[in-house]
Structures are given as C-alpha cells and as structure tokens.
C-alpha cells in the first residue's frame, strides 16, 4: 500500500523532484509495471454502471479489458512495458495483511447492511472496497500478455522491489506504479499515473529518487527510516507521529534508534517488539529474482490466439480485438525514434535548484491531493 503521506511530503518540501509530463514523451523507454497494482486499479475502475464487466459465466473480465487496452495505449506511444507480478509476500507483511483482511470483513458487513437498507451509493462504495486480485486474475492476465507478445516477470517476492532492482540495474528506465515504496526500495525513477485511462487526461508524474533525497536533504538510510516512521507495509509506527513530525524527527536525530532514545515516551508510545530493523533490511536488501537472468523481448502478437481467448467465453468484441492486435503489430514495425539523451551524456547540473522557484509552488499542493485514493493495493 506504499508509504503513508510520502507523495504529499515530497510535493510540499521538494516539488522540483516531481516532474509532470505527457505519456508520449516516454517513447522508446522500457518501463516496468507493477502488475498487481494495475490489476487492482482495473478491477476498481473498469466498470459499466458500477458493476464489473463479466463474461457469460459471471466471471470478472475488467482486469483483462484494462490490461488489453491500456497496454496497447502504451505500445502505441512507443513505450515498451514489462509487467512484474508479485511473488509470495514477505513474512514481515503478515501483520499488514491481517489488517487488510479485517478491513475487508468490515466492508463486507457494511455492504450487507447497505444492501438491506437499499443504499445504492454505499453498496457501490463497499463493493469497490471488497475488490481483491486473485490468483486467477493474475494467471489470466499473464495468459493475455503472452498472447500480446508483451513480457512479464514473476517477482521472487514484492513486485515493487523487483521493479526497483530492474531500474537500478539499467534493465528498464523506470517503475510505473502508484505505490511510493518503490522509492524506498531505491528505484531511480518512479512514474505515476502511467496506466490511467486516457480520458482522465492525467499527466504522468516522474519522480526522481536522487532529487527526492537532495530535496529532503536526507541520506538513503535516513530516507528508509523516514518511510518506516511514516508507515510502510512491514511494521507498525509510533502512534501520534505523522508525516511532518516524522520528517522533523529524522532531520534532527538521523535514525530511528536515536529517535526512540530521545522522544518523550509518555507522549509517544513506541510499539512493543517494534521490528523496524527487519523492515529496514527488507527495503535495503529485498528478495528479488536475479535481474541478470531476465531477458526482455517484445514479440508479435498472436492475433488468432487473442481472438480465441478473449472473444469466446469472455465476450469481447472480435473486431476490436483484431484492431487491437493490429495496433500492437504496427507499433512493433515502425522505426522507433531515437532519444537524444541516449547519444549525448547528461552533464550533472552543478547548481541545485534554489528555493526561489515560484512556478512550481502552485502546482505541488494540488497534485498531491489528486493522487489520493487512486490506486491502493491490498493483497
């Protein structure tokens, strides 16, 4: 589910670390996509009249619809996507997963209540809260990607960690996800809103790790500690310390150990058996599939295969599927425009951007708000 309030903190303190651009500027780039998060997004967002799209047997097809059309959109923009699926969740996450299960139960109860009361709006809301990405969803998505000729990878554990390692290893340009913890894992470039619907006209946010560290004036280790304090998926936080307070504390004491030593224990209760050290390790050295063994290849789509898979029981429109397959084919054929920055090296800028920039101030507060609730990931 990412790091609580990190996007807003960055937007407030280091707005220049976030660059808003159009999706078409990413042509020729290879981009790792956090598949589970996208699937979840699609299950929530791709709906007709509030209900998920289903096939003849009542099985959901929203996720396939999403994967198919949004991937084509990326390919048409000259982007080379690679999907990364979650492996088994790390043990540390069990606490978080239990919490999520509880929340689902609550939502389930609320749904029953709303159904009884006939409250359509509430029912709709709770229905969305109950959405869960299942193994079948994942397998179906993989099957579809294979037919589309788009590569995917099974992460050893967390998809964000795997994506981040791929960015660091130079396999891909950036990670497309809404979860900010890709930054905590050290991904150089994080892209948000990449898989959003075109209709929303949402610009892509490009967040640079280096710039975030520079802007927050933190060392990598301090940044990880900050994220843990703000609230990650792997351990508890100190009650009563929000993003702002966490940031001040890290700036002052530099590490969680020092903070724990120095804060007023009566006011702030440090959780029992607080396992922040393990969480820290998890961020620093997550379990990943060796990136050297990964081979990324974009191949011709299997048009007939796609038609067979999507148009049979799943009731997709055959014409549209065929048109989609042709779009994929075309995107592979056209010569790709080279990027100038792959020929000439960027000279590291000698002057860090000063604080006097007025242009960005306005934007930042607005964009941080927009992001809320757009794509969280329960598992």
């Amino acid at each position: 589910m990412g790091i609580t309030g990190l996007a807003k903190l960055i937007a407030d303190i280091a707005p220049w670390a976030i660059k808003e651009t159009e999706i078409k500027n990413y042509f020729g780039r290879k981009i790792a996509i956090d598949a589970s998060m996208s699937l979840y997004q699609f299950l929530i967002a791709v709906r007709a009249e509030g209900a998920q799209l289903t096939d003849a047997n009542g099985e959901t097809t929203s996720h396939l619809m999403g994967i198919f059309y949004r991937t084509i959109r990326l390919l048409e923009n000259g982007i080379k996507p690679v999907y990364v699926f979650d492996g088994k969740p790390p043990d540390m996450k069990s606490g978080e997963l239990v919490k999520r299960a509880e929340r689902r139960e609550e939502a389930q109860k609320a749904l029953e209540k709303a159904t009884e009361a006939g409250d359509q709006v509430e029912m709709d809301k709770m229905n969305r809260r109950l959405v869960k990405v299942t193994k079948e969803h994942n397998n179906e998505a993989k099957e579809l990607l294979k037919l589309m000729g788009v590569p995917y990878i099974d992460a050893a554990s967390e998809a964000e960690a795997q994506c981040s390692a791929m960015v660091k290893g130079g396999k891909v340009f950036g990670v497309a996800t809404e979860d900010m913890d890709a930054l905590t894992f050290g991904a150089n470039v994080l892209l948000r809103h990449m898989t959003f619907s075109e209709a929303r006209k949402m610009p892509v946010q490009e967040i640079h790790y280096e710039k975030v560290l520079k802007g927050l004036e933190l060392e990598p280790n301090e940044f990880i500690d900050l994220c843990i304090l703000m609230g990650c998926d792997y351990c508890d936080t100190i009650r009563g310390i929000g993003p702002k307070r966490a940031y001040e504390l890290i700036q002052k004491y530099k590490s969680i150990e020092e903070i724990v030593k120095n804060i007023d224990k009566k006011k702030y209760e440090v959780p029992e058996n607080w396992n922040y050290e393990r969480a820290r390790e998890l961020f620093k050295e997550p379990e990943i599939t060796d990136i050297e063994t990964i081979e990324l290849k974009w191949t011709q789509p299997d048009e007939d295969g796609l038609v067979k898979y999507l148009c049979g029981d799943k009731q997709f429109n055959e014409e549209r599927v065929r048109a989609g397959a042709q779009k994929i084919q075309k995107s592979l054929k056209t010569a790709t425009q080279g990027r100038l920055d792959s020929f000439f090296k960027v000279i590291p800028s000698s002057t860090p951007p000063s604080l006097k920039r007025k242009v960005d101030d306005k934007k930042s507060s607005g964009s941080a708000k927009k992001v809320k609730g757009s794509g969280r990931k329960p598992k």
């Binding site: 220049w16 651009t21 159009e22 078409k24 500027n25 042509f27 020729g28 290849k297 974009w298 010569a335 790709t336 425009q337 080279g338 990027r339 100038l340 920055d341 792959s342 020929f343 000439f344 090296k345 960027v346 000279i347 800028s349 860090p352 951007p353 000063s354 006097k356 920039r357 242009v359």
Partner: protein, 260 residues
Amino acid sequence: MFEARLVSSGTLKKVLDSIKDLLNEATFDCSDSGIQLQAMDNSHVSLVSLNLRSDGFDKYRCDRNLSMGMNLANMSKILKCANNNDTVTIKAQDNADTVTFMFESQNQEKISDYEMKLMNLDQEHLGIPETDYACIVRMPSQEFARICRDLAQFGDSVNIQCTKEGVRFSATGDSGSANIKLSQTSSVDKEEEAVSIEMQEPVSLTFACQYLNSFTKATPLSTQVSLSMSADVPLVVEYTIPDLGHIRYYLAPKIEDDDN
C-alpha cells in the same frame, strides 16, 4: 550588471522565432564571451544550441556569469512590440530575478522598456562530443526548408542518403512516395546558391519530419545551411548568424530495429 545591445531587433526576433517552436522555456547563459543557450525539446529528441558571440553585439558587458531562465512565449510577446529597425538592449542586474528589454527607435524619439520575470529552470545540460562527420552537405537554406515542407506531406519521416554524386531526400507514406535529389553544383555564380558535399563515406539516415520542419524556422537567419551526418549519430543542422554566431540543431535518428 549585464547589458547587450543589438542595432537591429530584427535579428533577435529571428533568433527567437527559430527556437520557440521547439522550446517553451530556456536558460540563456551569459558570460564574458557571449550568450549561449542549450536545451532539449520536451520529448528529448532534438536539441538546440545557440551561440551569440559578444563581439557581434553593438555593445556588450557582462561582469558576472549569469543564467537567465526565460519563458519564450512571453519573450516573444515583448519582441513583437519592437519594430525591426529598433535598437534593442537586454539588461539585467547581477542576481536579478527580472530582465529588461529596451527598444529605441532610430531617431531616438521613442524609447520603450519591458521588464520580464525570470524563471529558475533546472535543465539537463548535455555534453556533445566532437565528432568527425562522414558527410557534410551545404545547401541554400530555403531549398532545405522547401524540401522538408514538401516531403512532410508524404510521410512522417525523411530518409537522407548522401553519396559522392549528391544527396537524396525521400519519404514514403500511404499515398505514395517522394524523392528529391540534389547534385553538387559544378560552377557557382552566387555563393549562397551552392550545394556542396564533403564526404568520407556514404550515409543513409532517417529523421522525423516534424523536427526538421521546426529547424527550418531558422531559415531567415542565413542563406546557407549545413547538414552533418554520420551513421547512427544525431544529425546536426547548422545555420550561421552573420557576424553574430550560430544556431545548431541536433536530431536523434530513427532506429529501424531495437530489440536490445
């Protein structure tokens, strides 16, 4: 204190027209030796490199190096207010956050001042290595503009093939194809109409029309243009600005197959 004066504001207008198609905003780096600008377009496909030498100005003074980030649309608005034969003076204080453009009419009877806010842009600077190009084609700038305009009707990209005999521009699209071949001119009456080719080895490269057409906005600056090409490196399109400097455009080629 920074101050630079040009006798005719027309030149500055032309310079601005030649870059504002590609860039929304840019940083002008001013130093003792002159004014420089280097910036990539948004999509990072092309790069503009502008150099105006200090000795080309009527008057030039730059006490401390200064980087002025300007919004080019706003700058263009200001320059529209000047007559072509007005004298223009660009002024800024050290560490200023504004720049002033002053226009003086020829008879000194009208003086107008325009002040513009500067922006702090953090743009990536690229190191451009010295390259010996396999082919350098010099041709009339208007001819080049015409070719780019004509070929853009047929396809998104132009293939440029250069051999000893001449240079061939071609485009293919759904409706058909177009080919334009220029030979080296043998005898030259007027220097500005000459086509010359310096070739080490033949090249064939493909470029997006859209960018080439943006480059040709610099045509009014110079009668001649030079295209420098080597296999698998960006094209350089250069226009000299008489007595003042040059503007160079770099354009990344289209790559046929990129499986790796």
